[in-house]
Amino acid sequence: MELFLDTLNYFSLLMLVVLGLVVIFGLMNVINMAHGEFLLVGAYTVVGITGAGYSFWLALALAPVAGAVVGLLVEALVVRRIYHRFLDTILATWGVSLILKQGVILVFGPTAQSVANPLPGVMNVFGVDYPRMRLLIMAVAILLTLVLYIAMFRSNLGLRLRAVIANRDMASALGLNTRRMDMASFGLGAALAGFAGAIISPVMSVDPQMGAGFLIPSFLSILIGGVNSLIGPLFGVAAISGSSNLIAGWLSQADTQIIVFLMAMVVIRFFPEGILKRRQK
């Protein structure tokens, strides 16, 4: 049971990070290397606001706003100029990640900060005492995934977004302002990242490298599952987090990382469009 909860815990953390990435990469086809630093924006919003004496929950509410603001700036200054140059978006957003990370270091310093746990104590689930904050994160991850799924596939706003993604020219000829849709989805992705960074900050050590650690696992999750829906990334996150936790039962964390990354690379090599895509056809 404990193993299951631990797996679910890592799954939830990764899923929270991946949600924003799905919007930006899966739907807009922009590989956003700065996604990890959008997390930082959220986490350091919490550091700043709780440091000034306000409550964690206020910070949690403001973090997505901060994420969206930074995301929209990045979109307007950088990404919108190179939407059509696919490889250059990778490089440019990586440059942005460098800038954001360095900005954080200049303001908050390079050392780790800790955020006080707003929900201390444990709760008994399935006969196991588990930290309440972690349980909250799990619930929020699952809820947010559901909400995003419904928003994307069951709402009119989602329909508009998907139309722009499926056929830009046609969507625009029907009357959709594609430029505004680009901004909306990039902003949404960044807001999700900001929120993720904020809510996981009490259970992680908040430091400038925090985002980088998530970068590879989250991209691998998306590539493994395929990006055509939310189910794909969900599957990818489950695969990465599940195998990580299973292997970590026997091996050290570093060895686990090596094995999981290698396995993921092999999967991507043989299923470049994601495992689920092939099965559907």
């Binding site: 625009s172 000829a173 430029r179």
Partner: protein
């Protein structure tokens, strides 16, 4: 309704395709543009709906100059577009394709009007099916219905008869005529298939090497007009 003056347009690196093109389409008319492959019909349609920028000339819609507007803004001012090759959203359901035609325009309710579904009963029947799994003729009807769902003033159609069996061509042509007659919609259609034109359109314009060579020709009886057919369509 539509006034085009000295329009020039082309593709990056491809030079001018349209040059000095003049065309006017009166309100409530059903005008067909005919021309051989590669003469610039699609280019003209894309230039009107704003997917291609005019390098010279002006395009007016209902008295307003729309030359500088982006394509979404033109759509919001009343241009509906049915592209060559249909370009429906193949992964969406039929119903979603129709809904997007409506919600793309601010101010329209998402519900697809009933008369549209009555006009295209096959779409109502298949509303939950993936649009990509419809037959070509059904997809063409969907593309037209999607454009009509946005309640346009001017409907642009690019070779709607392409790859469609003769009886369905007749059916589609008849429906278009019916809409023009009942709602006063203005239609500009690029075509090569005379069955889609003869007996249905009001007047014809012939496009040759990027300009209108002749316009205001009566559509009725075009099939007997050997000199024009050989001159403009090489038939």
């Amino acid at each position: 309704m539509l006034e085009i003056r000295q329009l020039a347009a082309g593709y990056p690196g491809g030079g001018r395709v349209l040059d000095g093109l003049d065309l006017s389409v009166p309100e409530g008319a059903f005008v067909a543009v005919l021309g051989r492959n590669g003469m610039g019909k699609t280019t003209l349609m894309r230039a009107i709906c704003g997917l291609l920028r005019a390098s010279e000339g002006t395009i007016g819609l209902g008295g307003e100059d729309i030359t500088g507007l982006a394509s979404y803004a033109r759509a919001q001012r009343g241009i509906g577009y049915v592209p060559q090759g249909r370009e429906i959203f193949g992964d969406f359901t039929v119903a979603e394709n129709l809904t997007i035609g409506r919600i793309a325009k601010p101010g329209l309710s998402p519900a697809v009007p009933r008369h549209l579904l009555e006009l295209f009963p096959i779409l109502a029947e298949r509303s939950r099916q993936r649009a990509g799994s419809l037959s070509g003729g059904q997809q063409q009807q969907l593309a037209i219905a999607r454009a009509l769902a946005g309640e346009p003033r001017l409907l642009l159609l690019d070779e709607p008869a392409e790859g469609i069996q003769p009886s369905i061509v007749q059916e589609i042509a008849q429906k278009l005529r019916e809409i023009v007659d009942t709602t006063g919609l203005t239609v500009l259609m690029a075509e090569q298939n005379l069955a889609m034109v003869d007996g249905w359109a009001d007047s014809l314009a012939f496009v040759d090497h990027g300009a209108i060579a002749e316009s205001g020709v009566a559509a009725a009886g075009i099939r007997q007009d050997q000199s024009r057919l050989s001159k403009y369509l090489s038939i």
